[in-house]
């Protein structure tokens, strides 16, 4: 199967009938528009998913702190999905944006602007700028070069945060973040209820935006770049431009996730920029599956549950099991494992 056919399959385009040979262009355009419309339609399972998250706000009041973490991780993984799942860019330094977003929101708060939404906006703007600037470094080279450059950028930023103690608090972390009420109305409370509701709303809004963006001609062009950049360029997709745009967008998403963490936990440490964050977020996305937006969210839930379970079992060594899991996942075949589950879900969705 060629890459173009694969892309066509993923967006649900039927093979072109032979009789349409005379005027293929308008027919294809119409079919693409129809396919996009089909993709944009809400499926029942999606409604179930969001209804369940809404229910968790009301029904699980004692778990709001961990649910808040899950929502933030989910948003972070969603941002990685935008570049890895849709554009095929491997990054081992995505924590760079998460960390910068966290520090930015924290610093905005310690410098007197305690409105959380303003902090989010500042973090998004700064990380988008950073993403845009570094995207040109990431464009070059192969997978390995990209790995190294993304990892290098994250390491440099981590080192910076460590050294610039006058600004970031260095190894002690950024302390004394006091947040005002969200939108001047909802005070943060001890049980994390406001925090969770706040993170979840931000996640939902950004998810909607990502859903709309990926189910657009822009999103389709990303898929074609992922499947075969050379061919995408040959049919007139501005490969580099698109990659810059999606990388910038993903950076802003990750920045917002980091900002949420800083605001809801009221603390930022150098830990937000460390390598294990980048590795964890990739793992989360892989557990959930790439390229359909829900992967990061499902993965975040599973990851936290797994972490809770394994950490209770062997607190110090839970990375051992994560490692075993990763090895097994790759050896069995990511597609087979995740794809099998996805296929089952799809069958279920079709039946309902």
């Amino acid at each position: 199967m060629t890459a173009t056919e694969e892309t066509a399959m993923t967006i649900g385009l039927a093979a072109e009938p032979a009789s349409a040979g005379h005027h293929p262009a308008p027919a294809t355009a119409a079919r693409v528009v129809a396919a996009l419309k089909r993709r944009r339609r809400w499926r029942p399972l999606e409604a179930v998913f969001w209804a369940a998250t809404l229910a968790s706000v009301l029904l699980l009041p004692s778990k709001h702190l961990i649910l808040n973490e899950i929502a933030i991780l989910g948003l972070f993984a969603l941002s990685l999905d935008l570049i890895l799942g849709f554009a095929g860019v491997i990054s081992l330094g995505h924590a760079a944006f998460f960390g910068v977003g966290a520090y930015c929101a924290g610093l905005v708060a310690t410098h007197g602007i305690t409105e959380p939404l303003a902090g989010l906006a500042a973090a998004a703007a700064l990380t988008a700028l950073l993403g845009w600037a570094t995207s040109y470094l990431v464009l070059r080279g192969t997978d390995l070069t990209r790995l190294m450059v993304t990892m290098g950028i994250a390491l440099i930023l981590g080192e910076l945060a460590n050294q610039m103690a006058w600004l970031t608090g260095g190894a002690d972390g950024l302390q004394g973040i006091m947040m005002g009420p969200v939108a001047g109305w909802f005070e943060f409370d001890l049980f994390g209820t406001t925090a969770y509701a706040y993170s979840l709303s931000v996640l939902f809004v950004l998810f909607l935006a990502a859903r709309r963006i990926t189910n657009s001609p822009f999103g389709l062009s990303l898929l074609s770049i992922r499947d075969n950049p050379l061919r995408a360029a040959a049919v007139g997709v501005p490969v580099n431009g698109r990659l810059v745009q999606v990388y910038t967008l993903a950076a802003a998403y990750a920045g917002v996730a980091g900002a949420l963490l800083a605001q809801t936990t009221q603390f930022v440490s150098v830990d937000v920029l460390e390598f294990h964050r980048s590795a964890d977020v990739m793992l989360i996305l892989i557990i959930g599956g790439t390229g359909y937006l829900y992967g990061g969210l499902v993965g975040a839930v599973l990851f936290k549950l797994l972490q809770d379970m394994l950490a209770g079992f062997t607190p110090q060594y839970w990375h051992f099991w994560i490692g075993i899991f990763l090895i097994a996942l790759v050896l069995v075949g990511r597609e087979r494992m995740v794809g099998g589950v996805a296929a089952a879900v799809r069958r279920l969705a079709r039946r309902t």
Binding site: G141, M148, L283, H319, F320, I327
Partner: protein, 284 residues
Amino acid sequence: MLTLLFDGIAYGMLLFILSCGLSVTLGLMNFVNLAHGAFAMAGGYATIVLMSRFDVPFVATLPLAFLFTAALGLVLERTLYRHLYGKSHLDQVLFSIGLVFVAVASVDYLMGSQQQIIKLPAALQGRVEILGVNIGLYRSFIIAICTVLVVVLQLILSKTRFGSRLRAAVDDRRVAQGLGINVNVIFAATFAVGSGLAGLGGALGAEILGLDPVFPLKFMIYFLIVVTVGGTTTLTGPFVASLVLGVADVAGKYYVPAAGAFVIYTLMIVFLLVRPQGLFARAR
């Protein structure tokens, strides 16, 4: 000043021994193996265990560390790595990160998380003054061993039949296969030797680099820098890259300690931007 240069060279030599195996893995099989440091760590711990439990003298543990990690590499290559050559880079990255996590946690469990200390024999301790340059005996020992290894490796690569097969396979795997070279066997052998060298490097470097369970994560970036900057087609590239990296790191930490690791990372990014294929690679 010269002492610094000397230390830097010893450090660079060590990095080369640690990472030359990785360069072959990458060049031959296009396999992104982030778990290379785990083999180095295995070698280091092999030396520790041999010395503390079985009272083997330090120098005698070095070949044993080599053999142990080479065997380990061979077993893992035949059982696990083999299945991943055709897979995407993402799969390889996930797999090798998984392996690193397992290695880190296992060593932590078995040996404890504290830094391990190697007791060097008295003959290798201390420093001497030669022509006003203050030279550490242990570092000259490292340089001597590594120089011998580099020469031997270069000779094997350029003079033996195995070496020419290996070079052919790195250049173009498919054509080499078509000519009847059994690339899989060559690769298994090279992987084992590469792992063994990493293990030897880990054992030698335990005193200088420090050895604790997070070793593979801490030094992963260094190995990758050597390989990506040096390129994967020759041994010269990684060798020069390691020396530059070693000297730059030692000098950077001495003269501008505040800049910390910036120098290295920035250099790496600049190198990668200017020469994405490596320092000495031919343009394809």
